[in-house]
Symmetry: C2
Subunit: 303 residues, 2 copies
């Protein structure tokens, strides 16, 4: 396996969706739109801008239609939407999403508890979404959750992650994002998992989506880069908590990832200072602490 | 250079000294003593319990004499004291410190601003401390600060770090702790620095002392372990801010380091849950947020 670092990495910003959906308070469309525009202006080329799930379950994302309609579009930026089913995918395409995202768990227990069906059934349900996207000429990204651990079943076998990843690829996804949903991984388990998945899916088609629940996310990203991973999901200001452990950290912060990449001499094309300012803007507006350490340090320096 | 991880790592807990000295409020002797006793009971074998500097400059450490006298001692645990000069070293030995620590910067600008003399002069000044410790049969640890960056001069040459480390070793220190005082390192700069120092000082005699200002500390520790480093300084609950950037994070949290080591299968002999509880105890007593992500997640789970 490779120990050479990639020369360029693509960041997938998930703050406006995966981040904000875990906030306790309602968030205005204007605020979401300004956040997305700031992130696009900072040079982020893929932004998950909303989700078209049932607002009964995720009320914070109820206004995703308006968000997609209101926001200004920067040429070259992909604006992605998480879609749980055909109805959501249709709404997302009507609202102008340029990319869709579907998801499956690598844990049977999580799949049953979270979406009330088996992993296999969840994949079958996405077939009409894939057909719709294919007809519309829209790329679809696949998320795999619980890639190293599950809040219900504990450890997750790397082979199951590899298999689900392969199935999402076979469904037509252009990229598979491997999510450590509860942030229990360390470089050892992340590397073991990546090695297993890379036997089924080329490393170029893999992204990592790591949560910082136990403070390991940046180390896990470093380990992933050493394995040749070139796409990293992250969330400005570390937006998003962990729904399985109150008070615990959620998504890895985009600012901290960019600081790492800069230090490693890996290109990313993003203005870190502008992202830090976007992080300051949104955390001030939400009245919550800034979860990015690099962001806080940069803002303290520029005070 | 080695890419094999060590099988066992020793933790040097610096929270009661490097952590608490950066707190804004006065801290009672009783509180310090209980923290130290909890950490020793958790299985930590080296604890920096105080410092014998001029209380004019570091008022939080004024009571170190009483702390050393009051605390119960666990057999096999080293209780270290930071000592800036002969007078401090004498007080530390009288109070019963079982280990001393001296320090030098790898940055001329930092040395001048921080202790008002050159690196060379600072080393000469420690000779009487080393003689006293040698006569008393007490081991001395050497700290090097600013090993990858300095708040005044910016970048620091790895060769200077290597040279200062070598000089501290030649003075008689049994171990050299390499401090990224302002937390600007990433795995690339930390590895470059370690490779340079390892040409002058055997890797077995090196420790890393990393601050999490930019969220890189755990990744930097992972990179250090890959280089063969077997001693890690850390601070329970991430106690200690960064005096050079208000609001920024300070020391890496012991709980996060232990979680990393557990994940990597590296022995450390410490009860992580007990350390997390000590972190909860001290942050509650100080009324400050818990800076350990693993600590917060573990405490949320055991609620």
């Amino acid at each position: 396996m490779s120990h050479r670092l990639p020369t360029r990495v693509r960041i997938v910003e998930v703050g406006p969706r995966d981040g904000l959906q875990n906030e306790q308070q309602p968030i205005s469309t204007d605020l979401k739109v300004e956040l997305i525009e700031r992130l696009a202006n900072a040079g982020i080329a893929t932004i998950e801008a909303g989700s078209f799930v049932n607002p009964k379950w995720v009320p914070q994302m109820a206004g995703s239609d308006e968000v997609f309609r209101q926001m200004g579009r920067t040429p070259g930026v992909q604006y992605a939407a998480l879609t749980p089913n055909l109805q959501g995918a249709q709404r997302a395409l009507e609202a102008g999403a340029s990319e869709l995202a579907i998801f499956a768990a690598a844990s049977e227990a999580f799949s049953q508890k979270n979406i009330n069906c088996s992993i296999e059934q969840s994949l079958v349900r996405f077939k009409p979404v894939m057909e719709l996207a294919h007809t519309a000429g829209i790329p679809v990204r696949g998320y795999v959750s619980c890639v190293v651990g599950c809040p219900y079943q504990g450890e997750v076998e790397p082979q199951v992650v590899a298999q689900v990843s392969r199935q999402l690829l076979d469904l037509g996804c252009y990229e598979i994002s491997l999510g450590d949903t509860i942030g229990v991984g360390t470089p050892a388990s992340i590397t073991r998992m990546l090695d297993a998945v890379a036997e089924e899916v080329a490393i170029d088609l893999l992204a990592v989506h790591l949560h910082d629940t136990y403070g390991q996310a940046i180390a896990n990203i470093y380990a992933s880069l050493l394995r040749g991973v070139r796409v990293i999901d992250s969330s400005v200001a570390g937006l998003g908590g962990c729904p399985y452990a109150r008070g615990a950290s959620g998504n890895v912060a985009t600012e901290d990832v960019l600081y790492l990449l800069d230090g490693l001499g890996i290109e990313h094309g993003i203005n870190l200072q502008a992202v830090a300012e976007a992080g300051h803007f949104i955390t001030q507006a939400l009245g919550r602490p800034n979860g990015s350490r690099a962001g806080r340090a940069l803002l303290a320096k520029s005070d």
